[in-house]
């Protein structure tokens, strides 16, 4: 981290000086790790029509935290990670083995998870306000340990992408064709949704539960407006996520508002711009 702090002091920003604000430096590093991660995951979340699914994962993460608090854990976040991954695997399984439309299945799971979370949080007349921090997110809560963990996940997702992306994409855009080519993507899909679960849960405390899904949906949605093939799509997703992440962080520092919300608004602007550009080009 010391290397990072000395590197960053070269930036011409007032919080980046050697005696500046450590949490902003941590936040910047976190954004540099998380943006490409969200950008990559976003490509498949959108192509696979899983925006609602990732939203539900965020909700379930909150439930996991509530369970962790109930059990008296010092760090309820790990409980949330386990809970979210378990739910992600269950989703993948149920989606495959039911005749219900997948958005219906997700709706069932999502509302149940949220209800369970609120039930546990307010059990015995408990106050809900102590959970507010998770809903809005707090940039002060970024810790180097979690950044390191997110970096490890970024590497794992990159490996998954290198090994399985072709199959994931084919199974998503044309299931019948993938079937006839003998492609079975159960494990890859399980890994992919677990990765989404872990990333959502770990980022939730500083991004905020209410807006975190936008990180997974907006880069992909914006990139689709202009991309014509998979290379452009991935490049734009990652660039959009990075640009919005950096702009949002500085904006939230200057204006003193929630970082998660600022990044989301930047992504929304990018989406609007790309939509317009896509229309003009057609």
């Amino acid at each position: 981290m010391e290397l990072w702090y000395s590197l960053i002091s070269l930036l011409p920003l007032d919080w980046a000086r050697a005696d500046g604000m450590t949490f902003m430096k941590n936040a910047l590093l976190a954004i540099l790790v998380v943006s490409p991660l969200f950008g990559l995951l976003s490509t498949m979340v959108v192509t696979n029509r899983m925006s609602f699914f990732s939203d539900a994962l965020g909700h379930s993460a909150f439930t996991g935290i509530a369970i962790g608090v109930l059990c008296g854990l010092a760090e309820p976040l790990w409980c949330a990670v386990v809970f979210a991954v378990a739910l992600a695997l269950l989703f993948t399984l149920v989606r495959r083995h039911t005749k219900l439309a997948s958005d219906t299945v997700i709706g069932v799971f999502s509302s149940t998870a949220v209800a369970l979370g609120i039930f546990i949080a307010t059990l015995g007349g408990g106050s809900f306000t102590r959970f507010n921090a998770y809903l809005i997110g707090d940039i002060l809560s970024v810790e180097p340990v979690k950044i390191a963990l997110l970096a490890v996940i970024l590497v794992l997702v990159l490996i998954l992408w290198l090994v399985s992306f072709n199959q994931l994409m084919l199974a998503s855009v044309h299931p019948a064709l993938a079937d006839s080519r003998g492609i079975r993507v159960v494990w890859q899909e399980a890994l992919f949704s677990s990765a989404v679960a872990v990333v959502v849960t770990l980022s939730m405390t500083w991004v905020g539960l209410l807006v975190i899904n936008s990180f997974l949906v907006l880069p992909g949605a914006a990139a689709r407006n202009v991309a014509r093939n998979m290379r452009q799509y991935h490049l734009l997703c990652v660039v959009f996520a990075l640009a919005a992440g950096l702009a949002g962080l500085q904006l939230s520092y200057v204006l003193g508002s929630s970082t998660g919300a600022c990044i989301t608004l930047c992504l929304a602007v990018l989406f609007a711009a790309s939509l317009l550009l896509g229309r003009l080009r057609r």
């Binding site: 992306f165 044309h174 064709l177 014509r228």
Partner: protein, 255 residues
Amino acid sequence: MSPHPTLHGGSGCHDACCLQVRGLTVTAEDADLLKDVDLHIHCGQIVAVIGPNGAGKSTLFRAILGQLPYSGEIRFERAGGRRTRPLVGYVPQSPAFDSGDPVSVLDLFASAIGRWPVFLPIPSSLRQRVSACLDRVHAGELIDKRVGALSGGELQRVLLAMALEPLPHILILDEPMSGVDIEGEHQLMDMLHEIRSTYDLSILLSTHDFATLEQYADKVVLLRQSVLKVGTPREVLASPEFQSVFHLTFGKGAE
């Protein structure tokens, strides 16, 4: 590749490779989707499977593709009598892509035939290979188009090119005429004739378009859970089995 001496019909098939289906039965939830189906297809033949909806056409194809559990026998005999598992090329039914998907023909093709991850820059050797495959069906110019922007006929050709790589022993097309206009239908038939004579493979397809059967099919199979009639297009279309299956009562209405 030269055509075999016993290419079209004939009783013996020692010199030609062929697909043999014997006593094929597929059961799901206590109902027979297919019952005791026998089928014999020589390479170089174009065989059309017809039958009402739910007759088991897609089930038959999926069984040959090995996607369904079945009882009975599906085997492929190479020229000279050596038996192997057939390599099957498959063109799925009514393919519909999300028109917004940022997937180019090159992406789709490369993701299906190789392991090179298509989100990375594509090596020129892979691009050339895809291009050569597309040229087989005169679709080379489509390589950079988005799959969502292709017309029905263009998409059909791209999927056909994919089914031909690697070159299969049997080519299966599920309802290739649906979603394609008259012009596209003629192009497709010309293409199938060309493929049949160039690569000498068996072509098995399902269709509801009886009017054009005689123009391209060597053999027609009337299917409704089991094989009701096999023969030339003329034989099958004139048979009482065909008329009863499709409730055609010629003559009565005219009186």
